[in-house]
């Protein structure tokens, strides 16, 4: 799903003031919202569909009234960003708590030691910026090393300063001298062992099926609440599956994610990887790294075999899906907005998106035990191309070896039997 065409909604987080359409000036400092990061009153709120602006007079959204900020108080409160400042957007990516990331949700506002050893509010109480350090507002630590489209000037290119990792503080040999775990750090990311599962307190969305969206009850949109008190169906968005304590997927990862663009051809017969994790066993910069695999079904242009831009949100326009519940109109409008041709037909294709998992670091006693991976059906069972003790065997050697053992057993049993018989005689 795309930001383009839906700016006023999405840009309540993605980012700044007044990004309501394609004319937004990314270079203007006047468009930067200082307060969303620096307000410490907790009263500064952007209106969900206000293109990043707070309201100037009280306004309702989904039963909640948004009041205009008390600008004097807000301005006087400014300070270094807290977990709440960052979390306001980053915990709610995708339109709700824990929708996108499995390792970032509102449980990290005041986490305990079990949830995150560093952010433990009773312990070290790290804020986000303790690791995501900044230099002149350039924030360290993002994973998306390369911009999505190499030929374009990326929004985030300016952010690409040195990346912080666990190693930055803990060194490459963080365990006791002689501990075998130190021999793993060249190939296994710290996160792989030290984040045994993600979404440990609050559920995260694992499956989002847009193809079922648009159903109505008595002619009206409706929602179904399932386990965890979360929507499992919403007319606007389709079916959801939520999960807690999710075991990550593991891939070789060198810090780069490659993205499927709207102009890329897709193969609708199998799940489309909207982003691909780049890395390999032979790349010295790659580590085995945990990921949340966010799956779902999304509309695509079945005439051109490309993903489709969807016009979801618009306060007035009929072409927006959340007004008309007509995919054809929404796709046509969305594609027109981004300047791509629409083949006129659409279908739904299964998609996968990979989110790196790096937060919610568990206390060391909760780290994975070795046999989570060093076993035949362990967590790394599908990661091919290298020998791993406990997982891999030498089939021929084992066959010959056990035949040898069996032959010697049979031989001594036979010998002993003959001995016994002849002794009696």
């Amino acid at each position: 799903m795309n930001i383009q065409g839906n700016e006023p909604r999405c840009t309540s987080c993605h980012a700044g003031y007044g990004w309501k359409d394609a004319s937004f000036d990314f270079t203007s400092e006047r468009n930067v919202d200082c307060l969303v990061c620096h307000d410490q009153t907790g009263t500064y709120k952007k209106f969900p569909t206000g293109a990043g602006h707070p309201v100037s007079e009280p306004k309702k959204f989904m039963g909640k009234t948004f009041k205009p900020p008390d600008w004097n108080k807000v301005a006087q409160s400014v300070g270094r960003p807290t977990r709440k400042n960052c979390g306001t957007c980053h915990f709610y990516g995708g339109g709700g708590d824990g929708v996108k990331h499995g390792d970032l949700d509102s449980s990290l506002l005041t986490p305990d030691e079990q949830l995150d050893v560093h952010m433990d509010a009773e312990g070290p109480d790290f804020t986000c910026i303790r690791c995501h350090t900044t230099k002149s507002h350039k924030i360290a630590g993002r994973c998306y090393k390369k911009p999505a489209a190499k030929e374009l000037k990326s929004l985030i290119e300016d952010d690409l300063i040195e990346r912080i990792t666990c190693v930055s503080c803990h060194t490459e040999k963080p365990h006791e001298p002689g501990d075998k775990a130190n021999d793993h750090t060249d190939k296994v990311a710290c996160q792989s062992c030290h984040i045994p599962t993600f979404a440990r307190r609050l559920p995260t969305k694992m499956w989002w099926d847009w193809s079922t969206a648009g159903r109505k009850k008595d002619g009206k949109p409706y929602a179904v609440h399932g386990d965890y008190g979360k929507h499992t169906y919403h007319t606007k968005k389709g079916d959801f599956v939520w999960a807690k304590n999710v075991v990550p997927h593991y891939f070789w990862f060198n810090g780069t994610l490659e993205y499927t663009l709207l102009t890329d051809k897709i193969d609708p017969s199998k799940p489309v990887k909207l982003n691909r994790v780049v890395g390999s066993r032979d790349d010295p910069r790659s580590r085995i790294y945990p990921f949340k695999k966010h799956r779902g079904k999304q509309p695509y242009d079945s005439a051109n075999n490309t993903m489709a831009a969807i016009h979801l949100f618009s306060p007035k326009e009929e072409s927006a899906y959340w007004g008309s519940y007509d995919w054809k109109k929404a796709i046509a409008s969305g594609m027109e907005f981004v300047g791509l041709s629409y083949g006129g037909e659409y279908g739904f294709v299964e998609t996968e998106y990979h989110f790196p998992i790096t937060h919610m670091v568990a206390p060391k006693e909760n780290r994975l035990s070795c046999d989570e991976c060093h076993s035949r059906d362990g967590r790394l069972a599908t990661l091919a191309g290298f020998y791993m003790p406990g997982r891999d065997q030498h089939a021929w050697l084992d066959l010959i070896g056990w035949i040898g053992v069996a032959v010697s057993l049979v031989a001594v049993i036979l010998h002993g039997t003959v001995r016994k018989i002849t002794k009696k005689e």
Binding site: S375, D392, G416
Partner: protein, 221 residues
């Protein structure tokens, strides 16, 4: 029947290292095959820790065993010989079934028959060092670049596992062979007490070339 003697054949340290090695081999085999992924018993992590502890323990024990062999002259019992090897082989192949007596009976001067000499010498000088070297290379896998080794991990695990099978096969055969004494448990008992029941026999012909050494005191039976 020749006269029976009971002699003190296995001194305390020899019995100790024998049983210590028994324990280490069993522990290393059990944990080793778990690390190999053959079964799940203690859990990989415990198996790994125990395996490494046992490996270091064996290295230390091995140093003591070699030192003991050299300083006490016990190494002479492991001098390989082909004499009577054929006879001994024939004995175990069919003589034993006919009630023939052993062509090289145990005596104070001859702890091991030629077949044992070859087997034990191979184990102590080839198999054990081989398994130690492959084991330590396996453990120090991350340091291979500094050692100038350009191998795959799978290569060393192959070699080390092959060694483990050799030990297991030795164990099977050894466990059987020790039942071939005068009674099923005679040799085992001797390895606990040190006292072995032997036939009073004349010196074996190939003993003549062996250097003379003082026989331990032989109590009268």
């Amino acid at each position: 029947m020749p006269a029976k003697n009971i002699i003190y054949l296995y001194p305390r340290f020899e019995r100790f290292w024998h049983w210590a090695q028994t324990l280490l081999i069993l522990v290393l085999l059990i944990t080793g095959f778990e690390i190999h992924g053959t079964y799940s018993l203690l859990g990989f992590e415990t198996a790994f820790t125990v395996h490494n502890f046992a490996a270091w323990a064996w290295l230390i024990l091995y140093v003591f065993i070699v030192f003991w062999m050299v300083t006490t002259g016990e190494w002479r019992h492991y001098i390989p010989t082909y004499r009577k090897l054929y006879d001994v082989s024939c004995y175990y192949a069919y003589g034993i079934f006919r009630g023939e007596s052993h062509p090289v009976p145990k005596s104070a001067r001859i702890k091991h028959n030629p077949l044992q000499r070859l087997t034990y010498l191979s184990i102590v000088s080839i198999l054990v060092p081989y398994q130690m070297v492959t084991g330590f290379l396996y453990y120090y896998y991350n340091s291979w670049p500094e050692m100038g080794l350009d191998w795959q991990l799978g290569t060393i695990t192959f070699l080390h596992t092959a060694g483990a099978f050799a030990f297991l096969i030795f164990l099977v055969v050894h466990l059987y062979m020790i039942t071939t004494g005068p009674t099923m448990l005679a040799h085992t008992r001797a390895m606990f007490t040190g006292w072995e029941e032997v036939e009073d026999v004349a010196a074996c012909e190939w003993e003549d070339k062996s250097p003379k050494r003082e026989a331990p005191a032989t109590p009268t039976s």
